[in-house]
Each structure stands twice: as C-alpha cells, then as structure tokens.
Amino acid sequence: DAMVIQNPRYQVTQFGKPVTLSCSQTLNHNVMYWYQQKSSQAPKLLFHYYDKDFNNEADTPDNFQSRRPNTSFCFLDIRSPGLGDAAMYLCATASPFANSYEQYFGPGTRLTVT
C-alpha cells in the first residue's frame, strides 16, 4: 500500500544532543511537509519542500533543519534539542497534480527530551 512512513516512532534524546527524524513515502508526491504537534494542540507547520525547493515558515527556529535527498525521503534535524522541543513530529505529503492538495500524514514520531 502506498503510504507515508516515519522512523522511529518513538525517540528519546538528551538535552542538546542532535537528533534526526526520518520520513519516507511511496506516493511519489512532490510536496513533503514537517509539522510539530504538542499535546492538545493543532499541528504547526515547520517547513515544506516542493520537489527540491525548501520553504521555511517564518517562525520556525533555526534549531530545526531539513534535508530532502530525493523524492522519497525527507529528514528533520534538530541540532540542539531543548525541553520545549518535546512533541509529536508529523510528516505529510501532497501532490499538486492531483485534484487537490490533499495531505497524507504519517503516524508521527514522538520525541522525548531528557
């Protein structure tokens, strides 16, 4: 089945220790998004890629970086995680060539910072 896969599902890291979260998709979608979702809140868009074009949201901290080496994979790098970065991180994909920009979400990675 075509899908959005996130690894790992749960990640524990220490304060200040770099961490990388990964997302892969078999949908062959042009657009990939990274969201941060804290408890009982709506997902917050961090950035997205349209093919290789990177689009950063204005309020995304510099601590968050992303890489998209090919269509299928996208990575979220947190350079120096703080306690406030503990959250669920969601990857989503979309294709502008379909009828709509329907976004397909992965299951998320729950990040804990100790």
């Binding site: 709506a42 868009l45 709509s100």
Partner: protein, 116 residues
C-alpha cells in the same frame, strides 16, 4: 486573517446522537476546507473535504455544511459511535495550483467523546 476558529473545544455526545463541530474563517482566498480525524498517538487522517462551490458534502455518516457568505463550515456526525471518539481538526488552504502549495491552516481541534 489567516486564522481558522474552531468550536467547541470539547464535546460529549451520547451514542446515536449527532455531533456538530463548527469552524469560521476570514480569508476569502481559501478554497479548500478539509476535516481531519486524529486518534491518540496517531497522525491526522483526512475525513472529508469541501470546496466553496458546493454548500454540502456527505460521505456516509459525515456531512460538511458550508456557508460561503457567513465564512463558516461545520462537520456533522450522524449516529455517533464510541469509535468516533477522537480529536477533529478543521482546516483551510489555498489549493489552486501555485497557491502557497496547499499549506493548511488548522483550527485548534475539538475533542469528541461518544458515550455508550
């Protein structure tokens, strides 16, 4: 102007009842209005979506009502079931090709509990 306001924050409904969640927006450029369902520990899943050229869309027990002049849209869940207990997010985006690449503006979410 980019906000989407969602109410209520939480909702308790008896099994078999109707659940109604409301959203309002300001930006008239929005042209795509999806509803997402999210269970604890899972990613959001698209439930149903509507474009402003129709006033209602129904899929099974789920109906979106859309009022363009009032800039409001709502989700109705008929015959609500305990399995519908989840958090529901409304969203809006400018979906036309080349229009901000479909970035979703989410409401704050409604936690629905359906009691048996």
């Amino acid at each position: 102007q980019q906000q989407v306001k969602q109410s209520p924050q939480s909702l308790i409904v008896q099994k078999g009842g109707i659940s109604i969640i409301n959203c309002a927006y300001e930006n008239t450029a929005f042209d795509y209005f999806p509803w997402y369902q999210q269970f604890p520990g899972k990613g959001p899943a698209l439930l149903i979506a509507i474009r402003p050229d129709v006033s209602e869309k129904k899929e099974g027990r789920f109906t979106i009502s859309f009022n363009k002049s009032a800039k409001q849209f709502s989700l109705h869940i008929m015959d609500s079931q305990p399995g519908d207990s989840a958090t529901y997010f409304c969203a809006a985006s400018i979906n036309a090709y080349g229009g901000s690449q479909g970035n979703l503006i989410f409401g704050k979410g409604t936690k629905l509990s359906v009691k048996p």
